[in-house]
Amino acid sequence: MTPQHTLHIVTGKGGTGKTTIAGALACALATSGRRVLVCEVEGRNGISELFGVAPLTGREERRISRTPAGGMVFGLSIDAEDALIEYLDTFYHLSIAGKALDRFGAIDFATSIAPGLRDVLLTGKVYEAVRRRIKNRPNSYDAVVLDAPPTGRIAQFLNVHAAVAGLAKVGPIRNQADSIMRLLRSATTAVHFVTLLEDMPVTETEEAVAALRPTQIRIGTVVENMVTPTPLNHDQLQTAATGSVALKVPGLTIKQNHALAVEFAIEAARTLQEQQRHDRLTALGLPLAQIALDPEGIDESAIFTIAEQLTDQMSLEAA
């Protein structure tokens, strides 16, 4: 049996539904009695919007959902400056210095200008949340889901080693980066990719997978989002895509049947293209999952529907 993943990192190109999948994955993991934390790092209030709750602010870890299976999902919006102040407090008992630093603009300076430091602070907070369970600290979680930066930036974001290399060869930041890297590379961490079956997001997924491989961070599942399943086979789709098929729906006029055939030809052609992109993703040799397009849009009940699909297709190894 595969080891239980306690840290799930979710990435995807803008517009692919990365945050929705991260939220749904957290729900899928929150089976009976389990506590799951979902974190965001881009300050967009994406998680709170998704669950229809008030924005997550400061350092609060607030319950945002009770799952139908009886688990609990908590949300956290990680801010680099807060993380630095917390870091100073934890390691140096310098909460006052933190505030003074803030006054001088030093926090802004350190988090914006020291390259990679911001990412180390953000992943550092995730590290702390994951470690609570191992260390038997209060407020621990059975699993942590990170709604990570988009695919274009994910390898750089997770490669905290490279981020501080040349910056800090020794010292606390370096040690912190080393610890984070160990967690990211451990068997209990997985990075999942969310994509649409369109050319650009698939290309970006291929590129990001290639960029992530040298980091030795495990890649989990590639989630094909907003897919329209079809009972038709390849030949039937190809026939439909030509647009030359005369559809004969009783009750529709000739004109309506013709309009339906034209529309269906476009749909069939799109499905054929999607299947080609599915083949490209298959070639990556990674586990794939498909989430059906919800024509009604996304609300809380839709998140649970997606969560069920994820549970069925991903090995979520819930305790």
């Binding site: 190109k13 803008g14 517009g15 692919t16 945050t19 300050g43 967009r44 919007e49 100073l88 140096y92 310098l94 210095a97 003074a100 630093l101 001088f104 603009g105 030093a106 802004d108 300076f109 350190a110 914006s112 200008i113 020291a114 390259p115 988009p150 274009g152 040349g166 800090a168 060869k169 930041i173 050319d199 650009m200 290309t203 970006e204 329209t228 079809t230 009972p231 038709l232 039937q236 026939t239 439909a240 098929v245 559809l247 729906v249 009783p250 009750g251 529709l252 309506q256 339906l260 055939a261 034209v262 529309e263 269906f264 476009i266 749909e267 052609a269 397009l293 024509p295 009604e296 849009g297």
Partner: protein
Amino acid sequence: MTAALESQPHAALPVPFLDVDKIIGDRETKIIICCGSGGVGKTTTSAAIAVRAAEAGRKVVVLTIDPARRLAQSLGVGELDNTPRPVTTIDTGAGGSLDAMMLDMKGTFDEVVMAHSTPEKAAAILQNQFYVALSSEFSGTQEYMAMEKLGQLHSEAEAHGTWDLIVVDTPPARSALDFLDAPEHLSSLLDGRFLRLLLHPARGPMRFMTAGFSMISAVMTKILGAQIIRDVQTFVRAFEALFGGFRQRATATFELLSSRHSTFLVVATPQHDALREAAYFVDRLTEEGMPLSGMVINRVHTSALAISPERALSLAEDLAGGSAVLEVEALHRHANLMRVMQTESRMMDRFASARPTVAQTQVQSLPTDVTDLAALRRVGALLSDKD
């Protein structure tokens, strides 16, 4: 007019139409900025507007900040680099022209350094470890350099008449605020209090501040390491002379963007997330008094068949189990499409009712990816079409 509106409280207000051709045709429009969240088709919209403007007789340069290098493909120019490259495949019959370029963040920063300092100082800056990191990784640099490049293109356009319209595809900013804040953020960071204290601790305004500062400086050294602080100090000393210029140009570009010669288009798709980001942009641009023309809504689904999803599903049910498999699937797909359309119009109505004065144009969802000039022309035509 108010009375007429009041007499029909439930009628949906007509959304004003965003007339792209009018914007392109107005010679006073010199800069068009397309903004919006990632994945909404911003680059495609920018390229389509640029092609349409050029073929209508404008001398256009399109500046993109897209790491996927897809614009180059669709415009038929090989690699885009930091210099504008002519797109020769367009129709120049109306006397227009089109150049395309992609922002090279580090290249632009290097150019600025070289153009505004002595060769020795420039060499010292370019080699500084800290500069290397700042110019390639700092999160605000991309936005800042886009502004810098825009300023350069505008000066060149004014001086030599090379172009009369600049179309800008903005960075896929993580938050809507980044784009407007970037110049201010970087310049305030570079000549901020912390750096000044770092350079000249003795000149601190008050003695106790200086004392506080040495404690802080010690903490920073502890966290970041002494090497970084030394690199920063060397960098800032060499860079000091450039600070004033940076701020000045950032302010000039900001003023240019607020003027009547510029206009902003917010790009979105009819999805909840994208419209929420678009709302941020619209509100922020309005608050800042920036000239906003309106919204481009991409990938709007349409159907020529006015059959409701319920009716389509009931027709499919009648045929189920028989030999009409294509008919059944076609009806299912149509029902799905109609539901998607209903969801999309609900989202767009909600947006429009909260911001009724924002003009809109819709571009229908295309069956294939936009990867060539013909497809860009088609997008341009859809953009300008009132339906």
